[in-house]
Amino acid sequence: MFLDKAKHLIENAVEQFSIIESDPSEYLIRFYNGKVTIAAVNRSTYLQMLITKGKKKVFKVITDMQSLESGVEDALKTLEAVEEGEVPEVYPKTTYSALEISDKELAVEEALNKVIDSMKNVYNVGVDRVSGIAKLYKTTYHLLTSTGNEKVETRTDYIYYVRAFKGNGSGFGNSVSTTIKHFDPASATAEAAEYAVKAESSKSIHEGKYTVILSPPIAASIFELVAGMCSAYSIDVGFSFLKDKLGETVAPKELNITDYGQIYDGVNSRSFDDEGAPTGITKLIEGGRFVSVIHNSTTAKKWRAKTTGNAGIIDPSPWNITVDGGDAENDEMLKEIKEGVFITNNWYTRFNNYRTGEFSTIIRDAAFYIKNGEIMYPVANIRLSDSLPRLLSSIKMISKNTKWIKWWGEVVTPVRSPYIMVEETTLTVP
């Protein structure tokens, strides 16, 4: 193991270290119009190293394993040169319990066959073309710390997302799992195709305020932003509207957002963080109140709190975000709406101001105009332009069913999200 060699090279020269060796194997297939555009196989070994001495600290990532000694030597030289300041604390001796949520081996052939099979009937429903990607990972993580912690764990992740196109309409589907058993590209492809067909021949709507139903992909993108803004670092540097709001009500009492270090189908699961702290379950929004800030050891010290096991050496961040389902059926939500829009996906979210939470995002893929509780016709060329605090406080209904979302565009940290109904949401058109 490279990690043992690195440990040997640094242990007498530093006071603290946390080293993680990871060796992701990646299989990837991208396709367009049912044809594979590229297949890729990638194998890597990475070593990341936090080292501290006195009040000095350095974080180094090494990929040149043939020159590991000179890489470590460079890190030690840098450590001597850096300015003194606050140093992260490597977590004391502890035990980790890695949940059995992955496959023993990555089922590459079965997964790729599932993806290819999902295409078989998609053109029968009338779509023009289909574009997507499947990414399969098997990664072993090996942790070693100066405090005597050691842990090895292996994870498998299966990620697939797809878009189907029909005329100017399009639909989106997503399947995310830690096991081949739950990996379901067929449903994702079918959902994308169904939405694409329904979204053909879209009309315009007038700019204004609408009651909207946000499907899991767009709701997940909103909740990912909110969870990220629960990071102490984000709050400190101005990237959060939640500054000075700890303990305050920011959403209706039905809203609960939780971060899980490990969870079934959470494809960013690990039992330890970058400082060797055990990951856990952190309630961020509970009963509509902002109840916890996410910490690493540095932000915890500044805030006089305890680490939540979310390091990120600089910026602590969530692992897998879940939003509890509510008590509404999807049809009930629809029936409540006199005039509104049902939105299936979004893309390209940008903030005008993180402190006030003002942002806009492009409505992507299928969206439908709702009148008197019924879906009337597809709509397009819309932008949701609002603020996060207002959106959160205007959630009126939450669906029972939830779905894991992770895809390239807007949901990078996995989020298990319900459908939500939000009142008075501003939609603009060019």
Partner: protein, 473 residues
């Protein structure tokens, strides 16, 4: 040092294994980055990505493989795995046969000029320089939060393909970014600033980083709390080079990537309006937009692309009409034309795809003063914060950060939250005049899955749009 022999080994083995085409890129990216959070350094980060990326064509299908275990055994292992995967695909699906364009066989060894080499710059320099820049803002009473980042990188590459092309290159780059929050009793203003280029550390002085950041800080403190809303409506609008640049990048550069037009990015960045428009006309005769990787010291600088094709300037839109798309060898091969060297890869572990370099609106022949004089009553938007565009690159929005009313042909009071929200064809059809200046901003452009951020410049002169609808946030 790069394992050049291993690149040759990978290409030789690929030929033996029956791949019709292969290329190998050994690439080492070294990165140093330091943050100052209200003057206090975060953990300094040193990192490197070093490995080999191999792209092949097998039975007409494209495959890519990478590893950072730089041994012959490891290269053989990934190639064999890749061949098995490609066998599976080509056996079960009738796949598109990829044909690369015919290109010259080249040998080159090129590098960016640097007065001080990257290897000779230590962390102390980064700390000292970032503190100098932080000093510009730290005593400003209204500025409550400052996140300053100074980073440097060195990209070393050795490229070889089965046709005999061999290119070696060295590109050092430096980037200064700042995220500033200013408060007034009635207003919170936030601003991102990015200044960067390729070269030695002296490139930051060449780009007048200190002077530009000082000017930005003055502006932020001047306008926070003073910005007032205006009525929504139709205005004559002047935009500054930063806004001109993002418009060119988003609404012309991206949709002119030929892989998007073809649909290859359909599930990610999306497709392009060029699939649907009936005419080549994009805008008024003033719409002239280019992409040029050969601008010395630019952030998006390169002389040969990641397929070994010699780089050149591309005129994307000329006199308001489509002139040329951005091509790699795959899209050019499909059309039977030559590539214009637009293939880039952000590191060894990802395939080269079609990318912009330095995308900009060409300067015109007006002075800035003449342009302002042309506008009796209007709005001047010099910089932006929020922006986005749809995945066909038609429906776009730019929200002004530093913006002013123009009254009686004079730039007057600052305005808040003014929004250009329009379509690409409408925007460029309203372009009336371009100034003589040409200024650039640094940015990291994202595309592809796996996500590839590549350094680019966006830029242009001051632009005058006549009768543009403005909204207000």
């Amino acid at each position: 040092m790069l394992e050049e022999d291993l690149a040759h080994f990978a290409v030789q083995q690929s030929s033996k294994m029956g791949f019709e085409y292969s290329e190998a890129r050994v690439q080492r990216d070294t990165i140093i980055s330091i943050n100052l959070n209200n003057g206090m350094p975060d953990v300094p980060i040193k990192g490197e990505l070093y490995g080999i990326g191999i792209r092949v064509i097998y039975k007409g299908a494209m495959g890519f493989s990478s590893t950072n275990v730089l041994t012959r055994e490891s290269v053989l292992d990934v190639l064999e795995n890749l061949k098995r995967t490609l066998e599976g695909i080509t056996a079960t699906k009738e796949n598109e046969k990829i044909k690369m364009s015919e290109e010259d066989i080249l040998t080159a060894n090129w590098s960016v000029d640097e007065r001080r080499r990257f290897e000779d710059i230590n962390l102390d320099w980064f700390l000292k320089k970032s503190k100098e820049l932080d000093d510009v803002a730290k005593n400003e009473e209204k500025i409550k939060q400052r996140l300053i980042r100074l980073s440097g990188s060195l990209e070393l590459k050795y490229f070889v393909n089965s046709e005999g092309t061999m290119i070696k290159s060295r590109i050092p780059r430096y980037l200064f970014t700042a995220f500033i929050t200013a408060y007034d009793s009635s207003d919170i203003a936030q601003r991102f600033i990015e200044i960067g280029g390729s070269g030695g550390p002296e490139v930051l002085d060449r780009l007048k980083t200190h002077e530009k950041f000082t000017e930005e800080i003055k502006t932020i403190t001047k306008i926070v709390g003073k910005r007032r809303s205006i009525k929504e409506g139709v205005y004559n609008v002047i935009v500054g080079p930063e806004v001109a640049g993002i418009m060119a990048h988003e609404s012309i550069g991206h949709p002119f990537e030929a892989d998007r037009v073809r649909g290859r990015e359909g599930a990610q960045g999306g497709e392009s309006y060029l699939r649907d428009i009936k005419s080549n006309k994009i805008g008024s005769a003033e719409a002239n937009i280019s992409d040029d990787p050969t601008i010395p010291f630019s952030y998006g600088y390169f002389l040969f692309d990641e397929e070994g094709v010699k780089a050149r300037k591309k005129e994307l839109v000329k006199g308001g009409s489509v002139k040329e798309l951005l091509h790699n060898r795959e899209t050019a091969g499909e059309l039977g034309i030559k590539s214009n060297a637009s293939a880039r890869a952000s590191n060894y572990s990802v395939e080269p795809i079609i990318r912009m370099s330095n995308t900009f609106v060409e300067p015109g022949d007006w002075t800035f003063e003449e342009i302002v004089k042309e506008v009796k009553d209007g709005v001047f938007i010099n910089s932006f914060m929020e922006w986005n565009i749809d995945d066909r690159r038609l429906n776009q929005r730019y929200v002004g950060f530093e913006a002013y009313k123009i009254s009686n042909s004079e730039i007057s009071e600052p305005v808040k939250g003014v929004i250009i929200e329009t379509t690409t064809l409408n925007l460029w059809s309203k372009l009336y005049a371009r100034s003589k200046e040409l200024e650039f901003s640094a940015a990291t452009c994202g595309k592809g899955d796996p996500e590839q951020g590549v350094p680019v410049w966006t830029g242009g002169p001051y632009l005058l749009f006549k009768d543009l609808n403005l909204k207000v946030r």
